[in-house]
Amino acid sequence: MSEEVLYSEKFTIRGNDYERGGEVAARIKSVMKELGIAPDITRRLAIANFEAEMNVIMYADEAVLEFSVLPEAVRVVLEDRGQGIPNIELAMQEGWSTATPEMRRRGFGAGLGLPNIKRNSDEFAIESAVGVGTTLRYLIRLG
């Protein structure tokens, strides 16, 4: 079944590019505001995007983020090339993003904001292969 995409825009995010951290999230937020998308949806997607973008900058080599406006939802697909996440279940645990220093030393790196992304979306999916990369899809329904 082919889906109808009303609008889409792709962004490349580079690992370690702290200087531009948050730019993609800000750009998408301003597009959503211009399109007249409801403030709470804009806000939720902005929060999710910011977390996702910073994850790439902190942990991945490079990623392509595709933002799409569908008739009934806004969606983001983020594919990165990078180390991947060995234990998704652990990374998805609430509180993991505010990990203590001891937890950080256990090998995952601190503060994957994944639970925060999930909390702010209506649909959320993650696939990851160690040494290859991670793909995130999240979606917020309009209205």
């Binding site: 399109l35 403030p39 902005a46 929060i47 995007n49 910011f50 008739p71 925060n116 702010n120």
Partner: protein
């Protein structure tokens, strides 16, 4: 008083149509058409960046004409604390206040105590408030307007506590009315303002049906006469007026939180930094901060556009005045808490979003318009030269999409079109 959207006026005889103000405006509210800068009222937050940027003094704040003072049986000057910082470290608040009665006001009122009380009220409010965090001060009216226009989903973050100047005016009106046997509308309370944003907050208040103030004169307007009155030779200096040192600090950025018990606070100064922090708050950051005082001007009120003394000297003056005053305080915490419970400090009304005209009624149409805009932008040079009268190429593209400008307003596009025509002529 007529209702108007904003309080900035461009003097057509002085404006030469350069694009300084248009480029300086943080909300892109100015266009230059036919060598004249024009303010788009629904985008203007009255921050005064244009007044600061204009080299020709064509951009001005629409302050109250002094003839308005005659409408009242009794007039009160309510000066911004910044006024105390204008005359050097040796001129005390008491002299400034006395000077105000000598230049035409019937009485004066010092704002510092109300500021100190507000600090206490903010502490008490934060202790019982349940978020959303962080709470943002409403002292700077340009900040409130920026939130209404640009960050409407942050309206619940605004501290629902009225500004010190409105609360003081409300109190004064009642007290004086009783003491002088006058009706409240026979008393005129005038703010002496450091900035254009406060001027507009009186004309078009936010979170308040009608302002308790009757108008505002700028510090720079009263400065000359006031200075003369203060420095008149052979004058007896008045008894030292008791002012609140921690209240005085509200004249500058950092002052609002300096006197608070809650230390989980932050100061943000200047429009660029405010945008940076607010963008982050929108993205869910800074939720661990309880309270943010934010100013559109770089150093708070001492750096308003309508002041005379430079902002560094003014801050030094305030600091020295505070050192001299020590740590006196008469504000009782319990009293402030009970006033808070009695809703004395509450914002009376709701702060409403001021949404900018949507580009279309539904999502599909909006996306179509957005594509049109992108197509226009693709033709523009992206030099942001502003020669077309819009501050950036993206703004021109938006204006074209909204039907308020033509792509031919761009000199580069026009040149390309002319060259093309010339080429065709040669070939033809």
């Amino acid at each position: 008083m007529s209702t108007r959207g904003h309080s900035i006026e461009i003097d057509a005889t002085e404006c030469i149509g350069c694009v300084d103000c248009c480029k300086a405006c943080p909300t892109k509210a100015i266009r230059v058409k036919d060598s004249l800068a024009v303010v788009i009222p629904e985008l203007c937050i009255d921050c005064g960046a244009c007044i600061r940027a204009c080299r020709y003094h064509a951009a001005r704040a629409l302050t109250t004409p002094t003839s308005d003072l005659k409408r009242f049986k009794h007039t009160v000057a309510l000066p911004s604390l910044t006024l105390y910082a204008q005359f050097g470290k040796d001129v005390l608040p008491a002299q400034v206040l006395q000077g105000l009665t000598e230049i035409g006001f019937d009485s004066h009122y010092d704002l510092s105590w109300m500021c100190e009380m507000l600090g206490g009220a903010t502490d008490a409010y934060l202790a019982e408030c349940e978020g959303p965090w962080p709470k943002i001060s409403v002292t700077c009216p340009a900040i409130v307007r920026l939130v209404q226009i640009r960050y409407p989903d942050m309206i619940p973050n605004l501290l629902p506590i009225e500004s010190a100047r409105e609360l003081a005016a409300k109190l004064l009106r009642k007290k004086l009315g009783m003491r002088l046997g006058l009706a409240e509308d026979e008393i005129g309370v005038f703010f002496i303002t450091p900035c254009s944003a406060i001027v507009n907050s009186i004309v078009a208040p936010v979170g308040l049906e009608q302002s308790y103030l009757d108008g505002a004169l700028s510090i720079s307007e009263v400065y000359g006469a006031l200075r003369q009155a203060i420095k008149k030779p052979g004058k007896e200096s008045p008894a030292e007026e008791e002012v609140s040192p921690s209240g005085l600090l509200w004249a500058m950025a950092g002052g609002e939180i300096a006197g608070m018990r809650n230390r989980n606070t932050m100061t943000v100064r200047g429009v660029r930094d405010v945008e940076y922090v607010f963008d982050h708050i929108e993205a869910g950051k800074f939720q661990s901060v309880d309270f943010i005082e934010a100013y559109i001007c770089p150093d708070g009120c001492v750096s308003g556009q309508l002041v005379v003394e430079g902002r560094y000297a003014a801050q030094r003056n305030i600091q020295q005045l505070c050192n001299r005053l020590g740590t006196q305080s008469h504000v009782k915490e319990e009293k402030v808490r009970s006033m808070l419970r009695e809703h004395f400090f509450d914002l009376e009304g709701q702060v409403k979003a001021r949404s900018i005209r949507p580009i279309a009624r539904d999502l599909r149409a909006a996306i179509a318009r957005k594509r049109e805009e992108q197509a226009v932008l693709d033709r523009l040079p992206k030099k942001d030269c502003a020669a077309c009268g819009a501050p950036t190429c993206a703004t021109l593209a938006e204006d074209v999409m909204r039907g308020n400008a033509s792509v031919e307003d761009c000199v580069f596009v026009k040149l390309a079109t002319l060259e093309q025509k010339l080429e065709q002529k040669k070939e033809g």
